[in-house]
Structure formats: C-alpha cells, structure tokens
Symmetry: C2
Subunit: 350 residues, 2 copies
C-alpha cells in the first residue's frame, strides 16, 4: 500500500479487511436490490453503472413521479418493513395510474441510520413483490447513511398525447371514484390505535375478517394501474385521492375550472368501513388520504364505456356526482347543497 | 362545513385559516420550485399534476440516475443551502456525464423538519441556477416533513446504443481523467477544518485565491456534461470519480475485466492542490471523492480525438495510465509497480 488514504468515515477499511464485517454499500445493493422487480427487455443497462439506460418505444411519452415515505409522517417505527416497501411502490404507481401510464422503471433512494439486514430484506421483498406484479424493474438507486427516508422515482409510458390530466374536466361531466376511499384511514386507525387517527365507534364490534381487510388496505394497498390504462381516451380528467377525496377532487375541479358536486348517497362505502365507522362517522374518513384510488371525470355519454373499463379491470367504480359551473367542492346531502371545505393531508400547513 | 374532518396532523387547518400562517406544501412548491431550471419544449406537463409527461425523441434512450444529500454524510448544518442545492444537481449531472447523456429533466424529493423559507429560497436558487445552466427542467417532486434529506432523480437522453458504460475497456486502452481530482477534498478540509478531512500541511501558506478556488471546487463543483457528450463513440468506457479516483477506477477496470496501471507522474495536480497538500500528501486526496470528474478508457488510436474533444469542451484532461491484463489498480511509481488498495467512500463499510 503506497500511501495511507484518509478514510471518508472513521474506521473505514479496505475490502480485504471487510470480510465478515458489516457489508458495504455495494454489497448491500447486490444482496437486496439488484434484479428486484420485473425483468424487462427494455432495460439496456440496469443497476451497476453510473446510470440506467432505458428504451422508450417510439411514439410514446415518458411519465415520471416521485414519492417519499418518512417515519412519523407516513409510517411508524413498528410498521412492517415489507408494508413500507409495498406502500412506497403503491404511492408512485397510483400517481402513474392517474395519468393512464403503464409503469416501467423505478429508482430508489434509501437513507438508513445503519445496516439492519432483516429490515432491509423485508423492505426489499415488499418493494420487489409489488414492483414485479406491476411489471416494474428497479433500475437504479442510492443508499446513504442518515435518518430513515425512502424515496422512489417511478417512470412509465403512455402513447403520445394520451396521458390523463387533471385539467380536462368540463361542466356536466360525471365524477367517478374507484374502490372505497376511507378504508386506508380506518385501517391505519385500527393498526395504530394510539394515534387516534379516526373515530371508529364500531371498531370493537368488528369481526376479524373485516378488521384484517381494513388493515390490509392501509398496509398493502392496491394501485389502479389497469383501470388508469383502460381510461385513456375515456376520462376527461383524472387524479388519485392519496391526499384525501375532498382535497384531491378539489384539485381536479380547480384545474378543470369547475366545481365538484358530490352526492352523499352515491359515495361508496364498504360494509367493513360502515361497520367500523358507524353511519355518522365514515364520511370523515374520506379526508384521511393514503387511499390509492382514482377519481375521474368523464362525459355522461362515456358512462357505459367507463363502467365496462371498470368491469374489465375488476375495479369497483362508483359514480359520485358531477362537475358543474363554479368553484370548490359541494356536497348534496338530503336535497341541500353545502359548500364543502376540509383539509386533506398537507405536510406543512398549520 | 358538513363534518369535522380528522386532521392528518395535529393542528392542521383549512385553507381559509391558513392565510398568513405557515405556507402549505402546495404553496411552497409554487413559491420555490415551479418553473425551476430550464424551460424545455419537450415537457408536455410539468409540476402540478400527478406526474410529469415528457417527450423522448424517437431513436433515443433514456438515461436515469438518482443521488441524495444527507446532513453529516454529505454536508454540514452550516453549509450554504445554495451550495447544497448546487451539489445535489452536480452529483446527478456527473452520473449522466459518465454515460455520455444530455441531461433533461429532474424530480426532487425534499424532506425538511419545518418551513425555513430563507433556507428553501437559497437551496432552490442553487439547484435552479445549475439546472438552468445545464438545460435541466425541474418537472416534479415531493415535499415532506422529517429529518433533512434531499434526493434528486435526473433523466437524460442519448442516441440509441451510444451510452458510455463502465465495461467496454480493453487491455491497452489509455486511461484519462478530467480536471484535478482531490481538489474537492482539499476544499472540504479548508471549509470545515474541524472535520480533519485531510492533511493539508500547506493550508496556512495558501493565498486567498488558491483557498477560494479549492473551497469552490467543494461547494460549487462543475459537472463534465459537455465532455461526456463529446466522448460518445470515442471512449471505450467511462465512470465518474465521485467516490474517489482509486475506487471508481477500480470499478471501471473490474467491469472491463482488466487491471488499471496508473503512472504517478502523469496524475494531474493543480498548483493550488500541490500548494495546499505539499508534495507528499496530495496523492491521498485522490481518494477523497466528491470530485465530479470523469475517468475514461480509450484505444490509443483515439488519443488525438480525445484530446480534441477535451479542447472543444474546455475541459482539462490528462492521460494517467492504461488498462492492462490482470485485476485491481496498480501504481507505477519511480519505475516500480505497486498493487494499490485503498478505500474510497462507502456509507456502510466498516
């Protein structure tokens, strides 16, 4: 060794000295993240170079989003690492679904206070299983030491000009929502009762199946990729409701220059959700967020095609109201229209 | 207001109540990050929808990388926020330069403990100035509350099949390096003497210009984008040396199935670097990392074209050795070959 190299971190050793010790960044990437997710023929170069090289088919546009999960804000220390990895992928998938994009490639930026291999293995498994199920290859990333923080960037593809946007809605369009928003919030409240995340007067009377179903909606949510793709050319506008139905629907309405008129009786509520929340409280859960469901607008003439798209992709979908002239979100309740104003999730609003 | 919504965070208020209070996530994005960087005609949809929509020209491949900056590991609390924003972009630009890609679009994931608008404004300015200078549009991102963590994903473009890789080097190829690796490490040591990041016996005798030049190499490094693009079709392999010349050159050699033979007398050392480190110590600085320089291999027949590419892009470039049969990194010093083994930067190696 011709010279002593100043280590970047106290105690850094050479590869030879590292045998049997804590694995380094490269080893951890090899062990847990290389070849994670789907195998795709359009990955010309994946993990292992300075950057990934990816083949975008001619005639397609690239759709990109990024989302992070941070302890305290998005999960608790005792959450299952597999659930954290799953939800990191689901949050990004949901954004692409709302654009009608087919997901393809992901990059992970993970910061951890130290090497906890069982945690890493379970996190990578949760991330990889959902990625593989949705055809997403992990093509790059970054591991660093610091407070726990997991950020994923997801890229997808859409035929040129066919991406769904928030701003295409017109007065008279029907409004639709997939799944049962509020279930994730109820599941979070059941999983972490100490958070008092929601009033669930029916929680104690829930049977084990309903409880497990709701908790699973929080821990292992679906994303509506297939529905989003099927809505290309049908929906006039789309958004995901991960910040809560009221807030995200308000964003769609605002971007489209309309007001949203919701019919309370049309809002979808699952049996489990109604049992947990009781008749008076479930509406509150709709603001909870973390539901990776799609809300969309479409001309009434498209209603049958929209329903066929939902059926073809096995997605529950309910017509919940319509876009009208005006601004904001209005609720039609027992024949009366109420201007609705409610916060969804905002990291910094006080 | 038809129902009281359970807030996602204690103290969350409605938009109306938020007037004059701490701005929310959406306001912060509007204020500091919308329209940051270059204006590009290929951004069909930028910040403000569920995801960005980007137009990849036919016949091109997408090149993607992600890098994060974490306090403690990459910067200190008293570092200038503008420098942190700049370096976050530079670290990613350097990865794309090593692939010969032209950078295009970035997504930012930023986690902060709270709203510090002067910090945010300066961070965004540093990020935006370098992004704009290099033709990069910020097209999306994510803001969350938590320990400070800044992660950027950068996408670029390269004509199909022309990306530079690590694994194309062959025995007999010349090795080249841009700039003056070690300057960033010296600059870091000068900027943060309490870290004892490097032995700089000449530090006290440095004139103000040399000191400022070295500190700037740490705080506001260049990235070798133009050189990387000019090397398409010329270099057989390329890598950036952000983890230190020894480690990254070792990676290039390993991927290419060769050994790297460096000539000590050919290694480039700037006047400022030699003055700061003294004749015996500057070699150690080469392992420091954070130098966003390129190391490349090329057939000897390409030497004149390589030098012309460097001249055309105003990039200092030195021939520092060659690839030979074998493994590892060897140093030719005073006529003798020494097997070289030294750690670079590894977040988790112990």
């Amino acid at each position: 060794m011709p010279c002593s190299i100043v280590p970047r971190e106290p105690g850094a050793r050479t590869s030879a000295e590292r045998v049997g010790a804590v694995p380094g960044e490269t080893e951890l990437i090899d062990r847990y993240f290389r070849l994670l997710g789907a195998v795709r023929g359009d990955v010309a170069l994946g993990i292992g170079d300075d950057a990934a090289v990816l083949q975008v088919p001619d005639g397609h546009e690239l759709v990109q989003t990024t989302d992070a999960l941070v302890p305290g804000a998005h999960f608790l220390a005792d959450d299952q690492p597999g659930s954290i990895g799953h939800r990191l992928v689901a949050a990004n998938l949901s954004d692409l679904a709302a654009m009608g994009a087919q997901p393809a490639w992901a990059l992970l930026s993970l910061t951890m206070p130290g090497v906890d291999e069982p945690w890493l293995a379970a996190f990578a498994r949760g991330l990889g299983l959902l990625a593989r199920a949705q055809g997403v290859a992990l093509v790059g990333g970054n591991l660093a030491r610091g407070p726990l923080n997991a950020s994923l960037t997801l890229s997808g593809l859409v035929p040129r000009g066919q991406a769904l946007r928030r701003d295409g809605g017109r007065p008279g369009d029907d409004l639709w929502v997939s799944g049962f928003p509020g279930e994730a919030r109820a599941g979070m409240a059941l999983r972490h009762p100490q958070l008092r995340a929601a009033a669930l007067p029916g929680a104690d009377g829930l049977d084990a199946g309903a409880r497990a179903a709701l908790v699973a909606r929080w821990e292992y949510p679906d994303a509506r990729t297939a529905l989003g793709v099927a809505l290309r050319g049908l929906a006039s506008a789309a958004i995901d409701v991960s910040d809560g139905l009221w807030v995200d629907l308000g964003r769609l309405a605002q971007a489209s220059g309309c007001a949203a008129l919701l019919e309370e009786e049309s809002l979808p509520v699952s049996v489990a959700l109604r049992a947990a929340a009781g008749p008076g409280a479930w509406l509150e859960l709709l603001a909870g967020g973390e539901d990776y469901e799609l809300c969309l607008a479409a001309a009434p003439a498209r209603a049958a095609a929209i329903q066929a798209a939902a059926a073809a992709t096995c997605t529950p979908l309910a017509r919940i109201g319509r876009l009208v002239a005006g601004t904001g979100v209005q609720l039609l309740r027992a024949g009366a229209v109420t201007q609705f104003s409610a916060p969804g999730f905002d990291h910094f609003g006080t």
